[in-house]
Symmetry: C2
């Protein structure tokens, strides 16, 4: 979280107002909270330059909840949905969708060295595909699509959890995007869903009320008690983003941060190496390995002593992963790059 | 929320620790957060004197999410579930369950004057009933069951959202209880589920992973990103409850608060009247009407000027509702009772 947001949160969220209630305690049916939802929606609409025919929902839970809720809401009369398998999180989304849908995997990542996102050419959709689901940024593998597939009339759905608000997003190319809050939006326990209005009609009667995109859109995300505090914090983050130059400024800063780090990896003379093809490297989750894997644990523990934490790669993959979300300042990346150079010099 | 919890939250939750992360930002897979979950579970276990064969889950969303998740997890091989219709929230639970189950309504509230919870005698369960669901305290009507039904071998499931931690609860009489956090636990967006271990086996393969009680129990409520901040706040509330004498002390205080208020209503010479039969009156949501209904709006607006807010009855019912959750101090009730006497004197 940005320092400015933490400071505002700690000043405001737990203080009682004239009515005796803190932000934490206000009823979600009351005007004060409804204004916060409206403000958060308005800020996000402005940040994304959102077309009028898209609705913003603030739902409880994380992205994995949407792995099930997307098919329940979007299959409509179809049983078939197309999914691109770009890595760990795409596979998790596929696994959940297979409980309800006939999943057609229309593209796969290459899976060998160098790692890459699925080829964007020639995706072939089974007749009646209700939608096509992609994972634009794979946090575990550190892979990002360089562009979007052409899905024709098949609505494109994306789990944007790890890249949301980090770079410009042309929403008009999507039917629906969702993003769990704990990366660039706010605290864990909230997911933002942005959905094209015409798709709301597909929500099946069997969908539980709080999981129905249609009902949540009709009731301003208040079908039942929403995660009020998380929405309040998200609104503070959106304010901060608008004050900080919006997504364009974040995107410049994020490319700069990622550029510094990948340059340090590529310029290390092989001491560090990034396994992902250059044009498919994530600017959000920069992943690398030490040529001498036996030094990985030492690297992580020494880095922690320098205040550089959470660098361990995902347990399924190992190595190092540096996550460069919006709130990570460039100074943090410079500190990491300096440490990497020093570590390499001492252990070369 | 209790003042002490708000103060601690504002001191601690948004401050960065030595690692540079605030409580809001720590990864849910890390030791620091796992310790908070373990602490919250341990405190709650102690508060409820929980038998060893019950598991505690901290899940995203509100009680209405459980309206769907309970049948998905507990129907097992059956299609039939028994529900008692005690009022507004019981009906909402029934409505969601009917999407998946054949719902047998085994008891109903009388529905006329005086209002009462369903009669506890002679509940008859269809063969193969997977469970029996009750709503021990109806927040809208202000009705509470005076005791629990005898369900024999049919597991008793309860939506305890509005009465959880307010009075002793003999968990051993239940198969599962759930409670949305925003009443006596913490912030909106979290629901506590307490489930008897043997029922976990019933979770069907079709249940989405984050909604599977079995998977969430196996993975310490961390199948996917949990509402970390809400769990942190809940832990602070549990600490406060333990320091404040636990549920026994809350129960004494709550009965005292409700007693003051109902005495003021019953002693008003008919100016105010409570529509619920005495032995079925909720100690949590005290509901009353003014004999002259035309004065209701004036009562609510004058009360607000005295700092007495959120007194409007539910929109489906009207009248006045005073909610006396654990954090409401007796002084708040005394202020209300004083205002009621003054108002009655001026408008009699």
């Amino acid at each position: 979280m940005p320092d400015a947001v933490l400071a505002r949160a700690s000043e405001h969220l737990f203080l009682r107002d004239a009515s005796g209630a803190s932000a934490l305690e206000r009823p979600f049916t009351g005007d004060a909270f409804r204004e916060i939802v409206a403000h958060a929606q308005s800020c996000l609409r402005q940040l994304l330059n959102l077309p009028d025919n898209y609705r913003i929902l603030f739902l409880a839970g994380g992205a994995m909840h949407q792995f099930s809720i997307v098919p329940l809401n979007l299959l409509g009369n179809s049983r078939v949905a197309a999914y691109a398998d770009s890595g760990y999180w795409a596979k998790r989304a596929i696994g959940e969708a297979q409980r309800y849908a006939e999943v057609a995997v229309v593209a796969r990542h290459a899976g060998d060295s160098p790692l890459a996102a699925p080829d964007l050419e020639n995706w072939s959709f089974p007749v009646g595909s209700a939608y096509c689901h992609i994972t634009p940024n794979e946090t575990v593998e550190g892979i990002a699509y360089p562009d979007l597939p052409d899905c024709g009339d098949v609505p494109l759905i994306a789990d944007c959890t790890s890249c949301f608000l980090a770079a410009p997003l042309d929403i008009a190319r999507f039917g629906l995007v969702y993003a769990s809050a704990q990366k660039n939006i706010g605290p864990a326990g909230l997911t933002v869903v942005i959905v094209r209005e015409d798709l709301l009609e597909r929500s099946a009667p069997l969908v539980p009320a709080p999981f129905s995109y249609r009902l949540q859109a009709e009731q301003q995300s208040c079908v039942n008690t929403p995660p009020t505090l998380a929405i309040h914090l998200a609104a503070l983050v959106f304010d901060w983003l608008l004050e900080s130059g919006g997504i364009a400024a974040m995107s410049v800063a994020n490319r700069q941060k990622a550029g510094l780090l990948y340059a340090a990896i590529d310029g290390s003379g092989g001491f560090y190496h990034a396994p992902v093809a250059r044009e498919h490297r994530s600017t959000t989750n920069a992943r690398f390995h030490l040529a001498n894997e036996a030094l990985t644990e030492l690297f992580i523990s020494e880095a922690a002593l320098h205040g550089l934490s959470n660098l361990r790669g995902h347990r399924h993959i190992g190595g190092i992963r540096a996550s460069l979300y919006n709130a990570m300042p460039e100074a943090g990346v410079i500190a990491l790059v300096d440490f990497m150079a020093d570590f390499a010099q001492r252990h070369r």
